[in-house]
Symmetry: C2
Subunit: 542 residues, 2 copies
């Protein structure tokens, strides 16, 4: 290993090359249904991954599509990688040609990436049916391509595609491919469960044998088709693999890939290994959500370690015991991964959660059992109508304060509003809203246009209220979610709108419910502005 280590050090790898956290979000992860990354997206994600401290970022297949070629050019100019090395993915040379003359192989060199991952076939049937060449020629293709790229001073990893299926079908051939790659100078040979059909016990057995029989440095690439990708990755590590390939949030084709976050969390927190820079793990939740933003997928609320629900406690039973000792009910301290414990308010949670939630929000419920009881009743009643306070802390705090203070915080009152959306014969749209409000004793009538009916209402509300409450100028709507509560009724369903609002120093969520998306949005907007004024320390005045 030493030569490889020195060489990679020359190229700025982290001193310790003994274990690799290899991310392939930008290559294999981008195969997920619903993900379509621009070059700008890829650059942003690469920055996040480097900040998180992975050792390798596989950026794509330069030459295979122009976007990836552009990414490698720009990444090396625009990103000052602190931790990660950039990896180019490509295939072994064509059958019957020389690696040196293969344009696809040349494109890998031209990408300038210090590390190159070559995908190689290790399953005899794939060689014959997909690659349409002989088993020997396939081994030659591996040997020749690895040798050539090493001669050009690149570090080479080899992905053995469909390795586990191939090993089942023809173990000797699968191992022959591993040997050829390793002997030709590949630093790591990655055993890929490309179809994702493996289970941990099988992975552990195969990795153990292949390691003993070939002596090659092994890595693991697991897909999640059995729901065991994280466990399969750890099973390979148990068996001696020292290189794990993962994707952020488990993005990937079909079900997805091994999820980077639970894998590194298990290695650091359960195995006691050091695989990330100091302090990186505590950024995990933020980085997971930031990457979800970029790929434009809602972060999974139930993702291990980083989901908003990952440390959320709902059961009344638990809630009361958690007051005694949180550690009894959490496998780790959420702060270790940058997440937080949350108490959920729902009719299952009961008094204990409401009290804890009050503390969390800094609302003193004293030991007023009646008050807590009233809040629980109110929540039940509203949740029956379709409200959810689990996802709308600000609306819950307004409800809590209204009960605690005997009256709701009211900064303005809505008399009426109207929104008109028009599709004109020329195909253009008009969106206009008029609001009639009362604030500080005066009647306000305001009209505004927007690029949609809700936006128009939002603009009209601001136009009307900002003269009275200039603090509202700071507010920005950062997210807007619409949920149909009864999926079998199409557009007749009850609609729940969740709005997230920010004022630069923080964000809060509010909820509105109705059989009308516009009316539900208006409710959520009212709460959003009311809470914004509450945060700004303004005294209520109608």
């Amino acid at each position: 290993m030493t030569t490889e280590t020195d060489q990679s050090t020359d190229r700025g790898a982290r001193a310790d090359d003994s274990f690799h956290v290899f991310d392939t979000t930008l290559r294999d992860g981008a195969q997920r249904e619903g993900i379509n990354l621009t070059v700008a997206d890829k650059l942003t994600i690469a920055r996040h991954l480097d900040e998180f401290g992975v050792g390798f970022i596989e950026g794509g297949w330069p030459g295979a599509n122009p976007r990836d070629t552009e990414f490698f050019a720009r990444a090396q100019q625009e990103i000052d990688f602190k931790h990660a090395q950039l990896v180019a993915f490509g295939a072994t040379r064509r059958a019957g040609a020389k690696a040196a003359d293969d344009p696809q192989v040349r494109a890998l060199l031209e990408s300038g990436a210090p590390v190159i991952t070559l995908v190689a076939k290790a399953h005899d049937r794939h060689v014959e049916l997909a690659l349409r060449t002989t088993l020997d020629e396939n081994v030659e293709m591996v040997r020749d391509t690895v040798t050539f790229l090493r001669e050009q001073g690149r570090r080479v990893f080899v992905d053995c595609e469909h390795f586990f299926d191939g090993y089942k079908a023809n173990p000797e051939y699968a191992k022959a491919v591993v040997r050829a790659a390793s002997e030709a100078g590949a630093d790591v040979v990655i055993l890929c469960d490309t179809n994702g059909g493996m289970l941990p016990a099988q992975v552990q057995a195969v990795v153990t044998t292949v390691l003993a029989d070939t002596g090659a440095r092994l890595g693991i690439h697991a897909q999640d088709d059995t729901g065991c990708a994280v466990a399969n990755t750890l099973a390979a590590v148990d068996a001696g693999a020292t290189h794990v390939q993962c994707t952020a949030n488990g993005y990937g084709e079909r079900v997805g890939n091994a999820n980077l976050f639970p894998v590194v969390a298990a290695l650091e927190l359960k195995y006691g290994m050091k695989v990330l820079p100091d302090g990186a793990l505590a950024e995990m939740t933020r980085i997971s959500h930031a990457i979800a933003e970029v790929v434009n997928l809602t972060p999974s609320t139930h993702q291990p370690y980083v989901g908003v629900s990952a440390f959320a406690h709902k059961a009344g039973l638990h809630a009361s015991a958690i007051k005694v000792d949180p550690d009894l009910y959490q496998h780790i301290d959420p702060e270790q991964v940058g997440n937080t414990m949350r108490m959920l308010v729902s009719d299952m949670a009961g008094r204990a959660s409401v009290e804890l939630k009050g503390k969390e929000l800094g609302v003193d419920l004293g030991n007023d059992r009646d008050l807590v009881g009233r809040v629980v009743e109110r929540v039940k009643e509203r949740e029956l109508q379709g409200y959810t306070y689990e996802a709308a802390d600000a609306s819950f705090e307004l409800l809590l304060r209204a009960e605690a203070e005997g009256r709701p915080r009211t900064y303005f009152r809505t008399e009426s509003w109207r929104a008109i959306v028009e599709d004109r014969p020329d195909g253009t749209h008009a969106n206009e809203a008029t609001v009639k409000l009362w604030a500080k004793g005066e009647r306000i009538v305001a009209t505004a246009e927007g690029n949609g009916p809700v936006h128009a209402l939002d603009q009209a509300m601001r136009a009307g209220l900002e003269p009275v409450y200039p603090q509202l100028a700071k507010l920005e709507l950062v997210d807007y979610k619409v949920r149909i509560l009864e999926g079998r009724h199409g557009t007749e369903s009850t609609t729940r709108v969740l709005i997230t609002t920010g004022d630069g120093s923080g964000e809060w969520s509010t909820v509105g419910v109705g059989d009308n998306v516009i009316a539900a949005s208006w409710q959520a907007l009212e709460d959003a502005y009311t809470y914004g004024l509450l945060r700004a320390g303004i005294e209520p005045a109608q």
Copy 2:
């Protein structure tokens, strides 16, 4: 085991009691953030689970809340269970009392459930801090409660809460609780990873030792906090556990519970065990989605085996090879679990996928390379604007046919439309829409009200078009989804609307995109009605 087996046979258990698939969706699954089940929901889910063929359905905690008490009463009246036995969940008796006198224990008997799961503490710190009693009294509580319920002729399972943490802290005490439960007549003692912090290797080691040291029949209850619940469940089975507790779709507190579906799929397809009735596995996808409907959560598109993406192929590389042999790229035949292979249309997929997709839709692209090229171009261009054809097969087929036939299928033309939403001073809402359309040469002007702007437009469109196309009367909107494409721009974001429409014999999805939720909805409605008429075999006529 024999006596228990006979007795449970008396109560109509399946002949083979040697392995238990135990579902706790209705009890532990209901603790998931965002789930709030009515009694009717619980009855519907119980029917689905019984049809799927689980051996046990844990319905809730009778006595603890009125909803669960009602559920047990009604389930035994209203449901004719074919496969499953109903299980009541409760706690061991209070400290210092007699089980026979404990109202909570009596409520379990009164539920009439033939099987009772008792939760018992096996972690010494929990006994002292949460239960506030002595270690010996806790063991007595287990022994006394199990004995009493067995005397009353019930079958008893004991959930050892926090078993794995407890075993780490005090293995002898944890095992003492297992022994007490087993000696008192509990058929199965379930080791619960309540905090979900375990990894498969640890679970396997602990289950192996406890089985050897106690001789009790063991079960496993795994939470998914490390992302390994399925693997942990299988690791316990590898170690000799013969009872697995799971929830449909992995619903459960925090991250969730071991997901029933990948667990039974692994047992049946990978282990070759028979744990479900004949044909049940092929219903798995349908049942998974049906339960998601009831709990009102969008089915996870990337769930192993049952997700719509679980057998969806996007990569151009794969697509071309899949034409050679699908089995090379799938770990199982999707039909084994009632799912189907899908080719995704996206700019990564390229020609091969479009050709396969054409076949799938029965649209003959011949070998017209130009045509396929044009379709790929068109798709790229539209996806850049925010359209997604992966989720809108009907809109894609319309696009495909438009290219193949040289002109779009047009049954009507939109001149203009207008929607007005009004919130009146009395708090009521008015939603009114006017549409101006052309169909079969005549100009149609129609106005309608609805309970929302989109519903009003839908009603106006129907009112206008049904006289010309009576076939539209059969159409029903079954789902309506709104997605904000740029989550950081609040209500200014681009909006994507996906509409699913049915005509009794089938369902199809269409997409609309715009910076305006109403305009995007209108587009999706236009495609939905156009495709409905196409399906009905109507000839286009403007």
